[in-house]
Subunit: 194 residues, 2 copies
């Protein structure tokens, strides 16, 4: 648990119907670049014993956290591109991801040029809820024959299934803040460990 992040979510996060916590003042729309450096530093601390060769995320809102983390591992970032059109070429690893927020499926693709079986990959993303996006990234890592070292998440919705499913599979998951419940009427967010 990153205390400063929890405080920032409490101060700036907006609770909306549908168990949504909007953090668009510092992550999702406006970006607090200084704070995101601290996020990168925190992920580095949590995974620093791993030999990370690449950080993987999906566009858009996890990109800066991924980059701030990658800097500290002195490696590059690859972000999966979203699209709806199946690629005709054989140059990409592709996977389908179901977005619960939008109620639709989209394709994520990663060029075979930028991820290989020699890579040791750390996944970074801003949110983890049902785990669909992370699941898609793991699928791509498997297709490439690369090694998954772990998953770093800024905000996990602990009352949804994604996090526990990853833990059950023995995947090293580090979430900087875990939300256990959201009271929409009182606008109260309850964090794990409080």
């Amino acid at each position: 648990m990153m205390k400063e992040l929890v405080e920032k979510i409490k101060k700036e996060g907006k609770v909306l119907p549908g168990d949504i916590v909007k953090v668009d003042s510092f992550i999702n729309h406006q970006i607090d670049v200084d704070f995101m450096e601290k996020i990168g530093e925190e992920f580095y601390k949590l995974f620093k014993n791993e030999k990370v060769t690449k950080v993987l995320t999906i566009e858009t809102s996890g990109i800066l956290a991924a980059c701030e983390t990658a800097k500290r591992f002195k490696c590059k970032v690859v972000y999966g591109k979203k699209g709806n059109h199946k690629n005709q070429s054989n140059d990409f690893y592709e996977t389908k991801v179901y977005s619960y927020t939008k109620g639709e499926e989209y394709l994520v693709k990663v060029s075979k040029d930028y991820i290989s079986k020699d890579d040791n990959i750390l996944i970074i993303d801003d949110f983890l809820a049902n785990g669909a996006a992370v699941g898609g990234m793991i699928d791509i890592i498997n297709k490439a024959g690369a090694k998954l070292l772990g998953v770093g998440i800024i905000i996990e919705k602990g009352f949804q299934k994604g996090g526990d499913e990853l833990r059950k599979r023995g995947i090293k998951l580090e979430s900087l803040a875990i939300i256990d419940s959201i009271d929409i009427d009182k606008k109260i967010i309850k964090f794990r460990g409080e």
Copy 2:
């Protein structure tokens, strides 16, 4: 002209039909985080006499350059969100942008919470060709009543109209590399100043 960038485009850029230069090994898909720090440093040097209060870009591929620049101005980034659905609420500034690459129009929106008439804004983006995306950002800045200080572009396609149109309007435009022509057969990219 940023010499190191020109060298990197020559070394890693791929020339594709339709005057496309793909730089997805370090900007557009894989991100070379160390190199993007240098890009941010370069933009800072070019605009450091301006009192920038916010850096504006559109998702996705300009975000890291925008963040690296904003850090040096000690300000925040706002990235315009792409979408197709007109917003019912009155919380956003919206503009239409025509994508020549995709041959379709999309909406870009920026929350009124994160850009105001008191802001002095620097626009940062990865590519400038016809100027549609930058034009959309200027429209949003105007709608917010904010002040546009200038535009920083990583790669300008000098043979397309966007750059010259901005210069004619008296807007301070700084492009780190300007491509004057692309020879698709010989795979040669000619840069301005060479």
